[in-house]
Amino acid sequence: MEQKKYWQSFGELNNSEAHQKSAQDEFREELPFESFDAEGLGDAKTPRRDFLKYVGFSTAAAALAASCEMPVKKAIPFVNRPVDITPGIANYYATTYVSGGDAIPVVAKVRDGRPIKIEGNELSTWTKGGTSAQVQASVLDLYDTARLRFPMANGKEVSTLDAFDKMVGEAMASLGAAPLVLLTSTVNSPSSKQVITEFLAKYPGGRHVQYDAISYSGMLLANEASYGRRAIPSYNFDTAKVIVSLGADFLGTWLNPVEFARAYTKGRKIDEKNISMSKHYQFEGMLSMTGANADERFTHRPSETGAVAASILALLNGGSVSGVTGDKLKQGIAKVAKDLAANRGQALVVSGSNDVNVQVIVNAINEAIGANGTTINWGAPMQNKAGIDSEMATLVNEMNSGTIGAVLIYDVNPAYDYYDAAKFISGLKKVRVSVSFNEKMDETTELCKYILPSSHYLESWGDAEPKAGYISLMQPTISPLFKTRQWQDSLLKWSGNATTYADYHKNFWTTKLGSNETYLKAMQDGVIEPATAPAGGGGFNGGGVAAAVTSIASAKKGGKVEVVLYQKASIGDGRHANNPWLQEMPDPITRATWDNYVMMSPVKGKELFDIDLTNNTQADQYEAFPEKPVLKVKVGNNTEVELPVLLIPGMHPDTIAIAVGYGRSEKIGRAATGVGKNVFQFASFNGTTVINYADAAIEKTAAKYKVATTQTHSSYEGRHEVVKEITLDEFKKNPTKILDGRAKELEPWGGLENYEKDGTLYPVFDKPGIKWGMNIDMNSCYGCGACVVACTAENNVSVVGKPEVLRAHDMHWLRIDRYFAGNINDAESIQTVFQPMLCQHCDNAPCENVCPVAATNHSSEGLNQMTYNRCIGTRYCANNCPYKVRRFNWADYTGADSFGDNMDGAIGSNTVINMMNDDLTRMVLNPDVTVRSRGVIEKCSFCVQRLQEGKLEAKKAGRPLEDRDVKTACQQACSADAIVFGNVNNKNSAISKERADNKNRLFYVLEQIHVLPNVSYLAKVRNTDTLSVHAEHAAETHAAPAAGSKPEAAH
């Protein structure tokens, strides 16, 4: 075939000379540099203009090259892709959070080899994925800059673990007959228990002592007396119709709060078709988080707990009240006794007392009301606390007498938290060989000769059995960051066993479970649980009750003022003190961060400091300034501390409360340094158990101290559009009362049906596809703060430290507003409400239209979204947000600033911010969420990164989005299932059902201003006779929620 030729021009066709030349030069145009030479610039072909161009270009290029130099950051790709890691895709590993005997089954989210978030394990029947603030925060401890990084002996680094083993081995070989003691927190790990047994077998005369910083030995001993078992039963708060707590903070800190909170809130969920809920009475001296959730609450001195218990028992047995003061308290006891008797088999009494006698009486009450076997379950006893105070006391005595040869310490810190720490310290100095297995240099570890850093739970193998039969397995999610070793490994090695604990653990469970497959399945699930929940009562023996009653009756009466020690839901016994997330989490009751303080009744406050909170001027003065008066508290003859005072309504007038867990040593870490004072020394030993209250001498000082609180005003001022509550009786009688109230409010603008359309001049748009919505049940929320920390972890929310919280620069996207109602001078009248508050993602968002650059706008799925790199920081949106949920980056909190070295010298700079921006700590950041730079606004995004991921999952699977695809971090963390989230356009979604099923309690905060929020709330139902109101608003009737407020024109 003839070759065809196409031509583009006649020149090409004819192949003219001109064409040849042009084709040759097509892409070449010589830069006329050569003409720069000898002839002189003036004559050059290159004119002056060109010269200037070159000069200009090269100057600009040089300037750009010099000034735009960015710091070199090395990102080295994997040469071979590790198995199971897909960059950008998270892996989830089931493991177990353990801390001093407490164990919560969790799932660790691992991104590119780094654990970055802890979620509850939803396969566990007793947590159902619930967690606590401490569990959520525990991932940050992994990256704590203060962790011990290498073994030490006599204060010097030991180069290798083998060398360390050799030194310890030699030291222990030289002990001779002097016994060895393994001092740990409660160990409920089956495999570890076996390791301990094997280890102690190698050291004859050695023994294992368990010590709990917060002791439950009163309960253990009382149960031994009553039921013949030194154990603690499970409690069924969900099936109890009447719950009486004698000072037990079972929702916050007592025994196993995650389980109890879950069950408790289950018993208080309202089904509108069959309205009922449990009734919760609380007797206590201080206002605890649990007390704040009680339907009725009676206050008494801590020393009267026994008398209250004895009186209840007496009334149940036909006797009379004795030993208690105050009419309200007496009436309360009578009411409780009547209610308990009426609900036989459906009632439960628990007590937080560590006094054996009190617990014996409580056991007798529970027996009398038929709780044993119904609400008290001996089928699966709790195993998370087993320490006996007298054993510890004996050990400390022996240590002081010099008879103990070696003490191996794991996970306990008696040099800080023992009631007589000085004695323990002096004893420890007399022990020849002291070894500490610890993650951090705490007060006890500091004093030990040999220090072996132990691994964080996320780096460890293990297991836990917090309830008999309910096992949770632990697997490492990252290889140890430092030269650390699990304590079990050390014990194995030192008992001459060559296997590693990992293999030991695998053998242990493979043998137990029968095969490798079942073992792997169990590791994958994380939990091993009995097929049917074991249940049953215990054999009761009432023999000791009479003696207990007598001994209570003859107990010494308390002094003028009593101090009671308590744990905060955040810091607990102090082991989490160096966790900035927890330090910055506001206390549920006081809303204070970064400190411990004296909680005091306003009555006492007026008496002592002349601050009258019923007087507006004085109340404003007290609220508006962070400087609080300082009180000197003295217990016994030699222990005194000075602490700031917070006036908290609901406190017993003669009781003050101080949180333990503060005042840590400087070596524990930068976050804990200088925060609060230690008050463990206020506890005392009564010969059997440690008692956590004492008579106190208080004295006012002239000093003032700044306390950083995130909420200053405590009353909701009768604003029924903010908080709606109703009594159970009223709700039964008139179920649509709240709905009617809303209808009445909205009547002028189309009523409930047409409010969206008629409440505005603007057109209403369709909202097809997905529309995200959230519902929060205020009857379930009990204020624990797990969601707050979960949100912080998920969304890289900055920690700003005390100096910034003091200036109200806290950054939490989600906060839990706490309001008191009632007469602040009458503790019994105080009712508390917790209201989680986050961005409401308004359909008609007032923040959106005021932003001059449209940096905050609305997504087609109903999200109010922030575009950080468009934000110029006018803060107009924050001003115009009626819910005040927008947060501004006042300073460089994240190290993401365009200005170098900005962390130093600015007001925003402090040690905590620097600590959070350490390269190690920054490993906890969620790579899916932008780290916000200085000068931009941020706020709740409904965890948009999770929503996108969920949508993708559904899309990949080719099915519509389902509820299981998306869970916000706060929703996941909640052990009470107070938060429901999903697509409201799907009529079958959980959120749609929740709203449809709870029409009568549903409300939107500030509905009248027509911002059309996408977060709905369910009104709180109180199982009480009356609702307390704020003193100033006592005149307003609750019959018509909007009686005090004529509707405001809609916008």
């Binding site: 007032p846 449209a854 005040k884 900005n902 007001i907």
Partner: protein
Amino acid sequence: MASLRYESQVREPLVTGTKTYHDVTQDIVRPIEMKPSFLWKVGFTISVLLLLFGVYSVYREVVYGIGEWNLNKTIGWGWDITNFVWWVGIGHAGTLISAILLLFRQGWRTGVNRAAEAMTIFAVMCAGQFPIFHMGRVWMAFFVLPYPNTRGPLWVNFSSPLLWDVFAISTYFTVSLLFWYSGLLPDIATVRDRAREKWRKHMYGVLSFGWTGSTKHWQRHEALSLVLAGLSTPLVLSVHTIVSFDFATSVIPGWHTTIFPPYFVAGAIFSGFAMVQTLLIITRKVLNLEDYITMEHIEVMNKVIVLTGSIVGVAYITELFISWYGQNVYEMAAFQNRWDLSTPYGWSYWLMMGCNVLAPQFFWFRKLRRNLLFTFFMSIIVNVGMWFERFVIIVTSVYRDYIPSSWSTYYAPTIWEVGFYLGTFGLFFTCFFLFAKYFPVIAIAEIKHILKKNGESFKENMVEEERATPEKFAHEHAH
């Protein structure tokens, strides 16, 4: 006693001291041609120092963040926007005097308009600093401009009042600057023509844009003045109306108030005139211009002050009444938070009330209106009051709004927040001192329009008969 020739018995002469046209030029241009006085040097130095302190305060804020100020999660705007609104308000008198009073043919304006216009421009310059530097990321401030960009459909948000501010204030500034400068042209030419030094000739030559004083120039100049006056007049009303929209269009109780536009405009004129008083009382003294800025001027402006002050007072009381009449809990609480002295900021409300509503009532008395010292004192009081008005509106509304949990702690400024404000004083007075030194502070050309030169000279040259009263000629009429 009646005279043969009619003389107005009501109006005082606008220029006293029997000036000739030459005297006027001499009096007004002399300070420009002299060496700066000692007082000028002291004042200028202080202003520059204040300006430098302001620059450092802003530097800290830009480099370390808005955290250098004491704003917080509840109070997003404090001193920054208070100062902004305050300065914008002050910037109202100039244009009002030059534009509206020009259209209304108020002859007295010529004595004060130049200085008032200059004050307007400097005040708007100061005001502009706050919205710019209150931004968390000021280096991104250009995002507020609707410029063509490569970001696809990304555009400014035309429904945001802050964006309206951008347009309102930049327009106002541009028009005011043009108006002021076009008025200056003939006077600059006068200075140029009198100049002896070469640099002076050159500088004023350039600045005068080749003004020759030809009739054509004058004709165009007059036309331009009228056009610009026409343009400025609605601006006087619109700028502060739009500034008030920042608050009025929000949902915050205390901000969301329909009365704001007129109330803000009245307040702006009120504070603007007070600032004019402050400046002119000093200027006329220092530059010996008592013959041009007379007691009559002071009194007229005091009348404006008592009028606008009373309007503002009525607005305050209307707000209170409506908050009660509306019976909206949030609105009532917001206003209770203002007037209730026991609340943390109650004092600021009563300071505002005292300064803005009660104090100006003294100006009902002619004696006090014509008392220089008292007027000066009052002008300061009014501006303090007007600052607090904006503070009360901004801070006491937002520090306690809908959700009681978010009620704020007590907000007081940091040294850098105060420093920024002082810095704008530095900027303002630096500019004003330079203006007073290098430009005619009184519109020479315009004041010559109203100079009753011929009448006065004629009177001087009258013969005895002409001075006589009609009675003297009664017998002649009898014929």
